[in-house]
Amino acid sequence: MTAGTKMTVRDVSVWYGAKPALSNVSLDIEREEVIALIGPSGCGKSTLLRTLNRLNDSVAGARVQGLVTLDGEDVYAPATDPVALRARVGMVFQAPNPFPKTIRENVAYGLRIHGLARGRADLDAQVERALTRAGLWAEVRDRLGDPALSLSGGQQQRLCIARALAVEPEVILMDEPCSALDPIGTARIEELIGDLRGRYAICIVTHNMQQAARVSQRTAFFDAGRLIEYGATSELFTNPRETRTRDYITGRYG
């Protein structure tokens, strides 16, 4: 493990029932980098994210083998509390999924359950900070008490990012965070990822090659549950080692 490594994945395989979804995947998530996961639909990108924060624990029949570490500690060790893990490894989902509560409550919820706020004023300040970081504050400052579901899709997605940022995680997993957004919303989120880089280790799944090239320093290409190629983004997009990678990134896949 190098000094800059936040999470490591070693020989990880995941099954849903008898069906393998990931086979022998190994990669590192660096502290100050954005890593992009790309690959055709169904290749196991979401599965890898959900393995990193143990969200698949609650999926009946899902089974994980191999080693996942966070700061060198085994994420799947019996002594690891998955609830505490998820407070350190935040997640933004493919479809915006705000709680059907107020905008404010969406961001405050994580702070509340982890006891991270000292009193009302502190809570408000932290809610504002998270919303500001997610680039949503200006749009919602006057309507914090409105239902989150009254926001547009793109605003909802940024609210979900604010919700994840509020509890100050160390790693942020983003599963196609722009798939429901227009180009403006997408540009906003990409900009946001740029701002967040360095403060959080970020792992983003995307179907958009340009996006992967724009926001990430490292890229991992998956196909059919296997990690085909993994390396510096600039290298992988200009000079892929594998023909399958080249076919995929040039759109000749299939």
Partner: protein, 285 residues
């Protein structure tokens, strides 16, 4: 192509007619019942009737005591069945590990909901009067017995309301580090609550109309006074109707119909509240 469209329209038309006929039959029966009871009983509904107690003379008899008994029994039924039913439903849906045991318990609860009410009366007789020695004919025992009967109904309605809560909300909460119990009580329960309440009201209105199990636990005596406590002998509306219907020839015909009108109005009101809650729950999502 045209022939196909014509045939489709004809089929649609036939289905519409059939559907209207089905609706007409059920509404017709209800209207007939309500109409005939209103005609026969509306003259008997006055302040004295609504406040009075049972009496040997039809002219002096009222349903005040029975109403009070019904409210006490229903109150206890819901006070017991709602929390237990909701907790059971939440546990089974959200927290119980999938196992052979869980499947067995689920099956038993589904079966319990289908058990005829008189069997619950028998259970109440054996358990509460026999083993525990509680007083006969008391709202306490009536409420306990009907709670046993209502609980599985609430569990089943509650579980389907809980299952209708989108998984994405659960995952959102898990992902910010909520525990399963926090997910359940902070997110799933509030969202499922209108549906759970609807189930509880439907179960409660069934309990309100129940006669057989209460007869078995001794609620069949002539009670000339309103109950003042949970252990006093009491009667309830449907039992009162049952008792009076036996004395039609002694002038209780009008009283019977009048009591039926009151019971029906109560049941309709409860179902109306349930429908309103359901509607509100749907509009909000």
């Amino acid at each position: 192509m045209r022939r196909h469209a014509r045939r489709r329209r004809a089929a649609e038309h036939r289905f519409r007619l059939l559907g209207r006929a089905a609706v007409a039959v059920s509404i017709g029966c209800l209207l007939f019942l309500l109409g005939s009871m209103l005609v026969a009983g509306i003259g008997g509904i006055d302040g004295h009737f609504l406040r009075g107690t049972d009496a040997t003379e039809a002219t002096r008899a009222g349903i005040g005591a029975a109403l009070r008994g019904s409210l006490m029994v229903l109150g206890l039924t819901l006070a017991l069945a709602l929390p237990v039913g909701v907790l059971a439903a939440l546990y089974l849906e959200e927290l119980a590990p999938r196992s052979a045991w869980a499947t067995l318990i689920e099956g038993s609860i589904n079966n319990l909901a289908a058990v005829p009410s008189i069997i619950f009366g028998l259970l109440g007789l054996l358990l509460f009067l026999g083993t525990m020695g509680l007083p006969r004919s008391a709202p306490l025992v009536g409420g306990l017995t009907l709670a046993l009967m209502t609980m599985p109904v609430i569990v089943i309605a509650g579980r389907s309301a809980i299952r209708a809560v989108p998984g994405s909300i659960r995952e959102a909460a898990l992902a910010v580090g909520a525990s399963r119990v926090q997910v359940t009580f902070h997110h799933v329960l509030p969202r499922a609550w209108p549906g759970i309440l609807t189930g509880a009201i439907i179960g409660g209105s069934r309990a309100l109309g129940e006669t057989a199990p209460l007869l078995l636990i001794g609620m069949r005596a002539f009670i000339p006074a309103a109950p003042t406590g949970m252990t006093e002998p009491a009667t309830v509306l449907p039992v009162q109707i049952f008792l009076w219907s036996d004395q039609i020839d002694r002038g209780f015909a009008e009283k019977t119909s009048a009591a039926i009108v009151v019971l029906l109005v109560l049941l309709f009101a409860m179902n109306g509240v349930a429908a309103w809650l359901r509607h509100r729950g749907e509009v909000r999502r």
